[in-house]
Symmetry: C2
Subunit: 332 residues, 2 copies
């Protein structure tokens, strides 16, 4: 009953009469009209309209987003892994032993199958090795420098161009309705923080992610630094995501968006709260404009989360059908 | 030069003409006029006045505060320890073995010297034991229930009455100038989050603290919980504070306030940034209205941080001299 009532209200309150000056064009312009777009708009209307039975107070309007595959592309490899592989190539002259040691040998030989064969343990070693031994400030600079020069192998564009236009609109739409938007990603928190504010409008303090241990060291008198060590501190993936949300945010989200099995527990945690909840999943179905993958994919495997999403009537985005535009550069 | 110029400007911009409707009375009313009050007001004027050489952009206005001894009283024992001791007494009937085992034996006998003799290890065990074995939601409720009934042994008031009025004014003053205020405390993050929003106006997502491990568990179908385990995950004290700031906030603060050696590295980390910085320390000098302690104190030891603060000209609050009112209830 309520849903029906608000499906009208939302056209007035949510879309046609945007509440902020920033949203003078249609706020979800790159979302095709249909069940998915309506489920988002109705949820926002129901939870932000005073007097609604499902009204959510402003401080409780916490929205969490996975990053890889949800806000930007994650193929052919997670972009952070592309960064790490480039660093291995850069650092190789200082590590002659890498020529004979996996997974470095495969990386230097350009053998991606060999790299992937090293499994999660090998990939973690690459990340730990290439993301440590410098200060947090130096690492942030390395990330920025890399993003300025690196290009995606298929799209031949900076990686930060490969963010999803519909999700940028969704972030802005939620913020216009006074939701606080957070990233909750399996990616490294220090890999994301240097650029997410400029790209997504999400400040560093609203980013939850995986991390290596950092150590406070007095490098010169009165000049402390934080040195990154090659030890994993926290993996913000799978059941680590609710743990990370609890630790960093300390409130249960009312709105969560992911795209893979690594996001399943984050959505379960969101769903288990009282009152109105929104759980969304991006299904990558567009091989032409982006990529198509799900149950069998090594990266962004979408299998158990898909089944649960269907069973529990979560909102599942069919990228090909629901998004009129994938990347911002398509609009130019 | 700049300081002198702004000491005038601040009377106009900072104090006499508050920028927000919330601050229509004098914003630092409980701070006695003098060097300390002026150092705060001048810093805020210099960093928030457009065109100032030391102007700080709004997103970078991060202010961090220690909690115990900086925002509220920490004597005769940290209030979280008082909570833990009360829980030991409550849970004792279920643990007959405690009668013979330290530190529980001393707690149950009311022998505080014996409890303290168990050292940091004993205190950590008490916290781990009394803060685990329940869900995060259950724990939050336990904290709220305890605060509603427990009374401070000397002041005979709820612990949350024992917050410092001048610091409440400082938090409001900073927020009125668009600083984002964070707590960075050695105390447990889950002990603080249930009440800090109501008491300090600091939302749960702006609290950094120590934590135990939490584990995601599916308690019933589709009903996950986070179970608190008796294992320390992170100690947000001493050199852990810059680490916690980096991990949770991801920006270096421009303003930091503490009161003990456990805050020293947080202030050093703040001081090491570029541009204008404010480092403040509360010196507990008022045995009559609150407590007087410093170099020799077991709780809130203020020794190395004091020496460094003097050497580096950080702002040191003499509680007795600088605060006209200590607690909000004195004003009624």
């Amino acid at each position: 009953m309520l849903r029906r009532e608000f499906s009208v209200a939302i056209l007035l309150a949510g879309l046609a009469v945007p509440p902020s000056a920033h949203a003078q064009t249609e706020p979800l312009a790159s979302w095709r009209d249909g069940v998915v777009k309506r489920s988002i708009a109705e949820f926002v209307a129901r939870t932000t309209t005073e007097g609604s039975a499902q009204f959510v107070a402003v401080p409780e309007r916490v929205a969490v987003f996975d990053n890889d595959g949800t806000l930007w592309t994650e193929q052919p490899v997670y972009f952070q892994l592309a960064f790490a592989l480039d660093r291995v190539r850069t650092l190789a002259p200082r590590h002659p032993e890498w020529k004979e040691r996996e997974p470095y040998k495969s990386i230097l030989a350009g053998d991606m199958a060999g790299v992937m064969a090293s499994g999660e343990k090998g990939l973690m070693e690459i990340v730990a090795e290439t993301h440590s031994g410098m200060t947090t400030d130096e690492f942030a600079k390395d990330v920025i420098d890399w993003l300025a020069s690196a290009r995606h192998p298929r799209f031949k564009r900076p990686y930060t161009d490969l963010v999803y236009q519909p999700m940028l609109e969704l972030l802005a739409f939620l913020r216009a309705h006074r939701f606080k938007t957070f990233i909750v990603s399996g990616g490294g928190v220090e890999f994301m923080r240097p650029w997410v504010e400029g790209v997504y409008g999400i400040p560093p303090e609203q980013v939850v992610g995986s991390s290596l241990v950092a150590k406070f060291v007095m490098q010169q008198p009165d000049k402390p630094v934080l040195m990154k060590e090659p030890r994993v501190e926290f993996i913000d993936d799978g059941s680590g995501k609710p743990v990370g949300i609890n630790r960093f945010i300390g409130r249960r989200p009312v709105f969560a968006f992911g795209n893979s099995d690594g996001d399943q527990q984050m959505l379960e945690w969101t769903a288990a709260g009282d009152g109105a909840r929104f759980m969304g999943l991006v299904h990558h179905t567009d091989a032409e404009r982006e990529y198509a993958y799900d149950r069998q994919s090594h990266i962004g495997k979408f299998d158990a989360a898909w089944d649960e999403g269907v069973r529990r009537h979560w909102t599942i985005v069919d990228m090909k059908a629901d998004w009129t535009v994938i990347f911002p550069f398509e609009r130019k």
